[in-house]
């Protein structure tokens, strides 16, 4: 069931758009903001609120890279794997992260602290390699800094 806060926020979005469906992406963002991911149940709840079929809502949810349809950890690490970061050696950062966290792409640490995901270009190519953790951008990365960076997140 959606919370009162979620329903209030989605209702507010519905007032901004000419047709209910147009609030679909915003609704998904709102739910994910509250729960970190979007479950099958939430998809059904959003669908009934927006007069859409669950398949329709899910087709939107699964299209976008930043809507998570599986549970994620408390902090999501998005490592840029696009071309400038490739040239500047992001794979070293990738290997070090996987070694430190004992996980691969798409997995979460056992303590639920981190999820590691590859990500398309972060638009900071003059400071490659780069990654984001939650809302924080880290640039000009070096392997030896990673441990310290991860320590900031509980």
């Amino acid at each position: 069931m959606l919370s009162d806060t979620e329903i209030a926020q989605i209702t507010h979005e519905l007032q901004q758009v000419p047709v209910k469906k147009a609030a679909c992406i915003e609704a998904l963002k709102i739910v994910q903001q509250e729960r970190r991911w979007v479950s099958d149940e939430s998809i059904e709840d959003i669908a009934s609120l927006l007069d859409m079929s669950t398949a329709e809502v899910d087709s939107v949810a699964t299209f976008y890279n930043l809507i998570f349809r599986r549970p994620v950890g408390r902090h999501v690490i998005l490592l840029c794997d696009s071309i400038s970061c490739y040239v500047m050696g992001y794979t070293k950062i990738q290997n070090k992260l996987m070694e430190l966290l004992h996980i691969k792409y798409g997995q979460s640490t056992d303590d639920g602290r981190f999820t590691l995901l590859p990500n398309a270009c972060l638009g900071t190519c003059d400071h490659a390699p780069a990654l984001m953790i939650d809302n924080d951008l880290y640039r000009d990365l070096k392997e030896e800094e990673l441990e310290k960076i991860l320590k900031k997140y509980e």
């Binding site: 758009v17 469906k21 071309i83 638009g123 190519c125 003059d126």
Partner: protein, 426 residues
């Protein structure tokens, strides 16, 4: 040298707030336009400046606006495409984070020109600082009377909203962006009808790039001839160029349109890092053909880069050095394009993963000469005219030019049954 777009952005990159923007002449163009210009006169001036879209396609901005039907009532929309996601591109971030009001003023004037009722900034999710600054700028612009009902007391009203995306390269394509703004999957729409006639929610809509819109206040203040005089070549204005890769000073600079590749690489990017040799560069993001040593004196404008067999694209260059495998480089690009294909049309959905797999096999030492024929074939069958939108043809540009300029590298992978480069060991 004039740098109208970036001259007021502090070196720290921190945003110019409303008072600071007003203090350097901000919003004078809007005042002037609302007092002295009819919408048609705004469009005429932008046409006269021959401003070409900075998002990658280089289409005439004034021409685009002139397709909007003016004698219809009901909603019309203006959208700033701030979904910068072309790999290797980081120019709009600078303008969004550093001078949000310049973009807003450009949008309000552009919206007036097409008599739009509502404007949207469609912002890349990853640009968190830009989102914060844009939200503040929009609120401040409302409070100052630059947005909302009867702007500056005149008979023109405009609402403005920030929309942050949820990550998909397709959103950069304007009709896919409109689908996304409507809450749908970002798949491209059939054209015609063009968005100028039937766009967002079926209403007339203009989608322009951030850099393009940021020029509008300056063109209104200074005129078309001034705009043309900023450039070294026939394509007017300045351009935000960028360089990334193994160079001494990667970054972005606002320079006269038409600087040479040599000037960009050597003067501004500081040349190659010690121990690295230049082999080639994508001049304008991931979906442009390689240029090589032979093209160092090419003037980086729309016509110059096109004559050299590539595209100016976004003007942000990615450099390939001699320690980086060209096959691995292109594999990285095709992985991106295969992943970001919306899957709507078959050649793109099926063809891109195929090229990605072939390139991976080559990198792993499992490639054959027949694979090169397959890659050649794909560059033709996924080329212009065979797919629904420009994503796959764009994806083929670096591949076809890599096959042309770095063929010996591809063949070496086949002969030696391995990648000859020590990957990422630098």
């Amino acid at each position: 040298m004039e740098r109208p777009l970036t001259q007021h952005i502090p070196a720290s990159g921190a945003a110019l707030h409303i008072k600071e923007y007003e203090a350097v002449g901000g919003y004078t163009a809007l005042r002037k336009v609302l007092q002295e210009f009819t919408p048609a006169e705004v469009t005429a001036r932008v046409k006269d400046a021959d401003l070409k879209g900075r998002g990658g396609a280089g289409f005439s901005t004034g021409m685009k606006w002139s397709f909007v039907p003016m004698n219809v009532s009901g909603p019309k929309y203006l959208v700033a495409n701030a979904d910068e996601m072309e790999p290797g591109t980081f120019k709009d971030r600078w303008l969004l984070e550093g001078n949000p009001h310049q973009l807003l003023e450009g949008m309000i004037i552009s919206a007036y020109a097409i008599q739009a009722t509502q404007a949207f900034v469609f912002l890349r999710w990853a640009y968190k600082d830009a989102a914060r600054e844009m939200n503040k700028a929009i609120a401040d612009a409302y409070a100052a009377g630059y947005l909302g009902k009867n702007i500056l007391g005149k008979n023109y009203s405009l609402e403005m909203q920030l929309h942050t995306g949820v990550g998909r390269y397709m959103c950069g394509e304007e009709t896919a962006l409109l689908n996304s703004l409507e809450g749908k999957r970002a798949i491209p729409r059939a054209k015609p009808p063009f968005p100028q006639v039937s766009g967002l929610f079926g209403k007339p809509t203009i989608v322009n790039n951030v850099e393009t819109l940021s020029f509008i206040p300056h063109i209104m203040n200074n005129g078309g001839d001034w705009f043309k005089s900023l450039s070294h070549t026939a394509d007017g204005g300045t351009k935000i160029y960028g360089v990334s890769g193994q160079v001494n000073n990667p970054g972005a600079w606002e320079l006269p349109m038409g600087v040479t590749m040599r000037e960009l690489l050597e003067e501004h990017a500081g040349g190659m890092k010690n121990g690295f040799r230049f082999r080639g560069a994508l001049p304008g993001g991931a979906s442009t053909d390689f240029l090589t040593d032979a093209h160092m004196d090419v003037k980086m404008d729309f016509a110059g880069v096109a004559a050299a067999g590539s595209r100016l694209g976004t003007g942000t260059m990615v450099v390939l050095d001699d320690h980086t495998c060209p096959v691995g480089f292109v594999h990285n690009l095709e992985h991106f394009f295969a992943q970001e294909s919306c899957g709507f049309c078959t050649p793109c959905r099926e063809g891109l993963p195929w090229t990605e797999k072939i390139l991976y096999a080559l990198e792993q030492g499992h490639g054959t000469y027949a694979d090169l024929d397959q890659l050649d074939m794909h560059t033709k069958l996924l080329g212009p005219g065979n797919t629904f939108c420009a994503l796959a043809p764009g994806a083929m540009e670096p591949l076809q030019s890599a096959l042309k300029y770095f063929r010996e590298d591809f063949e070496q992978h086949i002969k030696e049954k391995k990648c000859p480069y020590a990957h990422h060991s630098h």
